[in-house]
Every structure is written in C-alpha cells, then in structure tokens.
C-alpha cells in the first residue's frame, strides 16, 4: 500500500449474470486515488464507474482483485473505512414518507453522530428551509442536496460521489461543484464519477478514464484531459486573406495558429474572443467562428491511441510509483466506447442522461454550468502564460502527441468521413482533437480549480 494513496485497487474484476451470459462490468482495474484533492472516474455509461464505486463501498463483491481504502482492506474491515467515508449514491435513496430532517436524524443516530450535526449539514447543503418537508416532495436538486448532507454527517475524510450533478439544473450543478471543491480544499479526498468531460476538467485534480470496464488511463487531469480549452475555426470575410489573418494572430501573440484552406485554426485558446479582437484591430472581419472542444469520445480515442503500445496509459498520481500498465485490451475498450458515443441514437443525443455523449460544439461553444470557458465567462489573465506554453504531449506513447499542432500529422479520419464503428452526428465536423490529435499542456490544474463553481 502506498501511503500517498487514499484508494488503491489491484486487478479488480466484477461480472454480472445476465440472460445472455456473463457481463464483465469491471476488468483488471488498478485504480489509484491519491490522498487529498478531487479524483474523477470518467467514462461513458457502462464503463464500470458505478460498479467500481459500489465495490469500494462494499455494496458489491468483486469477483477478483483487492481493494484498500486508507490502507485498510475492503470489504474485510469495511466498518473502519465507513467511519471515515461519506457517500452520495445515485438515485432517490430515502423514504418518501420521512422528512429530510428525520432521514438525517436516523442516519446520524445509526452513525453515532450528535443530533446537532444534522442541523449543521442541512445548513451546509442549503436545505434548512425544506428540512421539515417530506422527502417525496423533493425536487431532484433537493434530493441531491439531502444526499450530500447525509454524506457530510460524519465529517468524512473521503467523500465518494456517484454522478453528483446528474439531473441537476445549472445552479445546482454550480453549488455541488463549489461544495466539492471547497471540501477538497479543506483536505477531504473526493472521489466522484462523471460522464461529463468538462466536469472532470474543471473540478478534478486527477482522473481515471474508464471504458467498458477497463482502465484506459489515469493521472493528472492536466496531462490526460487538458483544461477545456477550445480549438477555434475562424473564417474571415475575404477568404483570400486567411493567410494574412493567421499572420495577424501570430503577431498578436496568439499561439498555435495554422490555416486549413480558407479557414484559420487556432488550437488551445482559452477565450475565442481573443481571435475576433485581434483580427478586428487589423480590420479583418470574421464571418464565421466555430469554437470546438474535445469531447469524451475524442478523449477516449486519443487515449486509446496512446494506450495501444502498452495497453494503458498510467501516469503517476501524486506519488512516486512506477508506471503500472493495465491490460492491453484497454485500448480496444476505449475505442469501442468512443465509437458507441459517436453513433447517433436515442441515447446519444445531447443532454442525454448518463452515458450519452457530451453535447458537441460544432455549432457553437458548449456552455457548461459553472464553466470558465463558456460564453460570457472570464479567464483569469494569469492563466494566459500557461496557454502560451509549448504544447506538451498528453500521453507519452503516442507518436502524434510528440508533434506540435502546426506540424502534427493529419487526422486519421478526414473531416466528414465515417470512422470505423461509428459515425459523426449530423452537422458536426470532426476537429483535429476529436480525431486523436494531442491537446496542449494546459494551465496548472489547481489554479483553475478554485473557482470552478
């Protein structure tokens, strides 16, 4: 057991019996969650996130493998871990006929927590006004707040949240993220699951990317996911001036500028307004500007490409552990999951519940609640220097990652071409990043986290 790790699993495997035989939910999972900070289990639906969490909490028994939480073997000594852990599970997990206060009072009594703590956590979760109402009358947001309040009863050292922002409105998402970040800043280790890439980018310090039950990659968010910066494709009013526009942008200090025919492409920019501003100063008028952000499918493909040689991408997570490769099929699993995400279907539309791909940005920048890169959001000036830093490979093993955007090889799939195993949603042009090209080394993670909400 590494002392710097709050959670460590080794070769975790879980299968379920189904009518069609055994379904492998988690396979050979070597998870390492560092102590302190926010760690995100990121992946599409069916990736094994919730199953992993349930095994960590002792709610499901692994078929094989070992789990240690704070160095304590689980489930053998689960009770010791439970005393230090707060949990937010997905769903409405309280009696509809009990008030929020009564539910918490019973949980507090079972946990041996003083009753006064109930009022404290209700206050923390912003639920004091509705504490006397029956749980059955709660909205999705109030349900989530009550779940968070319950998780905080023991003042936990480890907070586990399963899809904490699903079904919340933007204000609720912002509040929950703010609360999570504050707890992490106070020293609490937070493990959260999410299928929303932007959530991991904004909130997490480290991430484990799962696909089809396998670990595709894990490490610092900045290394694996980038920081949510966008690629901007701009078209000037006079197409012939695209080259001049690129020169103007470079002259204005905008980095990673290139042209693709009549389109000027700027990779890894924090604020798309910088492009229009710089061009307008030189009286080059932008007729079309499309910010495009890498989505989860793109991340999976990129990481799968990097994982192929060694079977998985594992970066040290706040410890000095040597790289521990995961089984080779991780790359194939990531590609399959990415292909599924990109296949249009009833479950794959923007806004779809867990597992649905994130809304594409082909028709405009994606606005995430609490996002710093959404429209109207501000980017702190001190983040700028990081944006101008030399691009660093997100993943060592990938040849493509060793190239800067300017001289990067062409994407594997030309725009508009259907990829093996999946198609692009209508109206969405694949961006270089969506095709597996590396992203730039982003700004320092912790600096951007503080005001995530």
């Amino acid at each position: 057991m590494n002392p710097g790790l709050a959670i460590e699993t080794l070769g975790l495997r879980k299968t379920f019996r189904t009518a069609r035989g055994r379904l492998v939910a988690v396979e050979g999972l070597d998870l390492r969650v560092p102590t302190g900070g926010v760690h995100c289990l990121l992946g599409p639906a069916g990736a094994g996130k919730t199953t992993t969490v349930r095994m960590l909490l002792g709610l499901a028994r692994p078929d094989a493998g070992a789990i240690r939480v704070f160095g304590v073997p689980v489930p053998d000594r689960l009770a010791e871990v439970a005393e230090r852990t707060g949990v937010v599970l997905e769903g409405r997990r309280f009696f509809p006929g009990f008030s929020g206060r009564r539910s918490l009072t019973l949980l507090a009594a079972a946990a041996g927590v003083p009753r006064a703590r109930v009022d404290e956590v209700l206050e923390l979760a912003g639920l004091t006004d509705r504490a006397a109402d029956l749980f059955g009358t709660y909205s999705a947001e109030a349900v989530q707040r009550l779940a968070v309040a319950a998780a905080l009863l023991r003042d936990p050292e480890l907070l586990v949240l399963d899809e904490p922002t699903s079904a919340l409105d933007p204000a609720g998402v912002r509040d929950v993220r703010s609360l999570v970040r504050n707890l992490a800043d106070q020293g609490c280790t937070v493990l959260l699951t999410s299928h929303v890439l932007a959530e991991a980018q904004q909130l997490a310090d480290t991430v484990s990317v799962l696909a089809e039950g396998r670990l595709v990659a894990q490490g610092p968010v900045a290394d694996l996911l980038g920081d949510g910066r966008v690629t901007v494709r701009a078209r000037v009013a006079e197409p012939a001036l695209a080259g001049r526009a690129a020169e103007v942008l470079r002259g204005a200090g905008v980095e990673h500028v290139r042209t693709e025919g009549e389109v000027v492409v700027v990779d890894g920019i924090a604020d798309p307004a910088d492009v229009t501003r710089a061009l307008a100063r030189q009286k080059l008028w932008v007729s079309e500007l499309v910010p495009q952000r890498e989505d989860l499918a793109g991340v999976l493909l990129r990481l799968a490409g990097a994982a192929a040689p060694s079977g998985g991408v594992v970066r040290p997570v706040a410890t000095k552990q040597a790289e521990a490769p995961t089984p080779k099929p991780a790359a194939a699993a990531a590609k399959a999951a990415a292909a599924r995400l990109e296949t249009p279907g009833p479950k794959a539309g923007p806004g779809s519940k867990p597992g649905g791909p994130e809304p594409r940005t082909g028709q405009g920048p994606k606005t995430e609640p609490g996002s710093k890169t959404g429209p109207g959001s501000k980017t702190a000036p001190e983040q700028k220097p990081a944006a101008s830093a030399q691009p660093k490979p997100a993943v060592k093993a990938s040849a493509a990652d060793k190239s800067s955007p300017e001289d990067a090889p062409k994407p594997a799939d030309p725009p508009g071409r259907v990829r093996p195993g999946g198609t692009l949603p209508p109206g969405v042009k694949p961006t270089p990043s969506q095709n597996g090209q590396s992203k730039h080394k982003p700004a320092n993670g912790p600096e951007k986290k503080g005001g995530a909400a």
């Binding site: 709610l59 689960l78 439970a82 409405r92 997990r93 006929g97 009564r102 019973l106 009594a109 079972a110």
Partner: protein, 237 residues
Amino acid sequence: MRLLGVELRRFGARRAVRWCALATVLYALVVGLVVASRPEDFAGAADVVRAHAPVLLVFAFAAGVTLVTAETGTGALGLWLTVEPRRGRVLASRLAAAALGAMVVLAVAYAVLAGGAYLVRRVVGGLGAIGTYVWVGLFQTGLALLLAGVLAALAGVALGVLLQRVTAVIGAVVAWFVVVEVGLVELVSSELWRWTFSAKLPSLVIEGDVNAAAFLLGAAVVLVLVAGVVLRRRDVV
C-alpha cells in the same frame, strides 16, 4: 443497541406500519364487540376470542416484510449500508425491531379483543360464572400469540430480505398455501395437513401446543439463517 433503537424509531415512524397497526387494533375492537354481543356467557365468548387471535399474526408478518422491502424498494438499504456496513448487525437489528414492534402491537390488539369483550359483557350484563380456567386460557393464548407474533415477524423480515419486494412475498405466500397447504394435502394425503402452517399456527396460539411452537421456531430460524447468508453475499443496489 444503538442500531436497534434506530430501527425501532424507523419502525414506529413508518406510515405503512402505523396503518397496519391501526387496522389490526380496529379489527380486534370490532371482533371483541361482535363476540360480546353473542348470547353465550363470557366463558363461551373467551373461546371465540382465542379462536380469532391467530388472525392478528397477519400484522406481525406484514410489518416484518414491509420493514425490509420498503428499504429495498427505495434504494435506502444501499445508503444505510454505507453508514453501517456490517450486514449481520443490520439484519439482527431489523429482526429485533420487527419482533419487538410486533409484540407491542399484538399485545395491544389482544388486550382490546379480550378486554373489549369482557367490558361490554360487564356493562350490558351476562358475564356469567368465570372460572379460573377461562382467565388462564386467555392468558396462555396471549403469551402464545406474542411468541407466534415474534416468529411471524422474523419470518416476514427473512422473506423480505430474500424476495426484496412486497408483491413477491405476497405471491410466494399465496403460492405456498395454494400449492402446498391445499394442493399437496388434497392430492397426497390429508395426514400431511397437521404439518402445515395452517394447522400449526392455531395449534400454537389457541392450544399452546409445544410441538407446534418448535416446528414454527425451526421454520423461522431456517428462514432467518438463509436470509442472513443471502444478505451477506448479495450485491446491494
């Protein structure tokens, strides 16, 4: 003890349990009044009271079932196990809470049933001569009812754990009675009837049969043990 206290509070606070308890007491009251209105003296009425006592066991069984299945249905069990992950303790506290809660309600209901019949007779007249054997019989039935109530509650909790849903438990109970207690007895041999729950429960409650008590206790213990093993091994959603 801490968990037991919490479970008892939860047991008492649940609306389903309260409604069931109220229905049980009302049933006892109505039966007590009907019995009191019959022409025979109180000694005869006491026999009728004792004959109706086993019906009250329905409450104990239902309370045990709903104490568990309500949690499974709402997903609250998963959350509960993150607070108290020792499943053996969780099951034990539930069994104890269901048994204690059932005993309290059954005691009240039986008191209403027997006491109601006595009081009405006393008010309107016609008590007749009440021998000691009448009081002893009523007292024995009361004790046996409490014991049977505990066993019914344990069986209810165990079946709730095993089948997880009220509808499944109802289906299983109905199927058992139709297939085993009626069908099998009719098809194979009427001698088997004395080994059915339909025979053993009244035998214990009304007659205080020790063999019936042992049979029912064995059945409850087996169910509880199986439920314990299943709960320990089962994945909780």
